[in-house]
Subunit: 355 residues, 2 copies
Amino acid sequence: VKKPSLESLPSAIKTTAELARYVGLSRSTVSRILNRRPGVKQKNVDRVMQVVERTGFAPNPYSRILRGQRSASIAVCLATFRHSTFVRKLDRVVQLLAKAGYTALIEISENIDHVALIRRIHRMRAEGVIFIGQHEQAGLVDHVRELAAAGIPHVFTDDSFGAGKVNVVTVDRARGMELAANHLFALGHRQIGIMGIFGVEPVEYARLEGLRRAVKARHLDPVEILININNPPSRESSMTFGREIALRFAAMTYMPTAFVALNDEIAFGALEGFRMAGIAVPAAASVVGFDNAEISRVALPSITTIDQRVDESVAAAVEFLLEQLRKKPVILARPRLLTPELVIRDSTGPAPARR
Amino acid sequence: VKKPSLESLPSAIKTTAELARYVGLSRSTVSRILNRRPGVKQKNVDRVMQVVERTGFAPNPYSRILRGQRSASIAVCLATFRHSTFVRKLDRVVQLLAKAGYTALIEISENIDHVALIRRIHRMRAEGVIFIGQHEQAGLVDHVRELAAAGIPHVFTDDSFGAGKVNVVTVDRARGMELAANHLFALGHRQIGIMGIFGVEPVEYARLEGLRRAVKARHLDPVEILININNPPSRESSMTFGREIALRFAAMTYMPTAFVALNDEIAFGALEGFRMAGIAVPAAASVVGFDNAEISRVALPSITTIDQRVDESVAAAVEFLLEQLRKKPVILARPRLLTPELVIRDSTGPAPARR
DNA sequence: CTGAAAGCGCTTACAG
DNA sequence: CTGAAAGCGCTTACAG
């Protein structure tokens, strides 16, 4: 036997028709009140809202949307769950969208090709799309532009080779690497060893570009200053990868005295590797990480790193999307970039005296 | 100007009515074909399916659901994104549900109280619910039982104090701790220091229970054998927490020679702490972690740990839910538990000679 | 300021 | 085996 109480879950009142009957009004008027349309007697508004409050009634979203209302949902396309920074961004995005009254439809692009993704966006009547992580499928850029032309705005929260043709709001990774390189040059280092940044993906490409820019600004030749490793070890684990790379650098005749790593985990592994090789950090080698992850704070020595300002860049991206939603889709001619922050800790120090 | 091509995104055919007109059949028949109902001429089935294939047409999900069809969606209630094991489970759950033809409606319970959650489940016509992580809100258990009574099955993928009243399919954490304790006892250790397991949450409670069981099985008194720390340090970071705990143990007059940690990050921090205190691992102290996370493999020394068999336990939980969906909701009188696996590595060794 | 009616895109009895 | 009609729960012109 079901309780007839209005407080029951689900609400005893299941449709606007029932609600209308309960308050003695027509469905039309109840609908107006529920949708905050003007021109309804305040007395009736109060009466209905009070019942809604008490019962937790909400109109069936499927019929609302079917009748042409906004779906109030945004597709959030995540490249993968297996990257903690992406997940952190996703967390923020979901919260910010909820605060703005939108539901996130989370899609994992690992599991779905982008044609299916775009179709799903149309089908679910998503009002906008947010991309998190690296999405470099051929043809995606064009389809995202068609989406915009059809009134569905988007934003990428990470670097994309499509920048200029699609909207990118992210951290200025190139600038981050400039900051890192300038810090190391100021400490007297002459060469920078690169750990795990190959430039295949857009986020990495931007980082290499920034390093080159810093080098050229000093009228030096990137080829001589930036040292990458020829035959990188396999990358099943960031930490062992970093450890292995450090060992390879340690085996070189003339090892650079400073290093920048793809991320803090690799930097941490490098710290271990240098310790195994008897190379003191930062006395004999300086290491800069990326992300300002927990490990960079708690490692011994703590790791100098670049803070991506994830919360701010995500907030900027979401705000950019919401603004398009209020007005109409736009295409940014260039990425909108936030300046990252260099966090100086104990893994970087003055270059050792030259051999 | 829109392309009239059938291959366009979204499909040029937008409704079953258009599809029906295009193939020269009634909406009824097209609907039957789309829903794979029997008793339609094969010729017509082929014709329609071919157009569907070519255009990517799919019926409007909102009208389908409104008309009383299954929503083909499952609410996945995640406690938080800030715990990597939960995220890993979420990843698997989403994939397994997709393979079974269900869409995951991801809810973050940090952001929503459970009354709102239950209402959302009803409103969205979710056909079932999966809980990931710790959900100990008062009243939740009763509401989940009401859901089951209303035909909406559920499963918790982590220990819950509601076990026996709600369905729990998870790893046997108590058994895991028995395995760890037996391993340490077999190595000659007499006391076990506990790092970060306080029994406040169900997952921790189960772990303490397992330790006590292992101790009692040897006719010993848990109070004398299991050593917890009185005034635990603050836990902003698992690694520094583990480091600090190790230092506190190291400062004791009679320190246990073996330790079990809440997770691998804490165990790793403990390794650092012991190194700082000049205590060799495993010669002077053995440490067991939990999770078989990447860090346990790559730490130096590598960390003996308990593998939760996340993939298998999640698969069992999802399968259990799907089975209920095929039949009807049930309530398990006791948790369904998978046996975890002890992974012996280099952080555990024979107890040192007694002082 | 309010209500009766039409219609969103589907599925499902019902009739043939 | 197929089609015309009704109806899911809502919102929105339209009429008053």
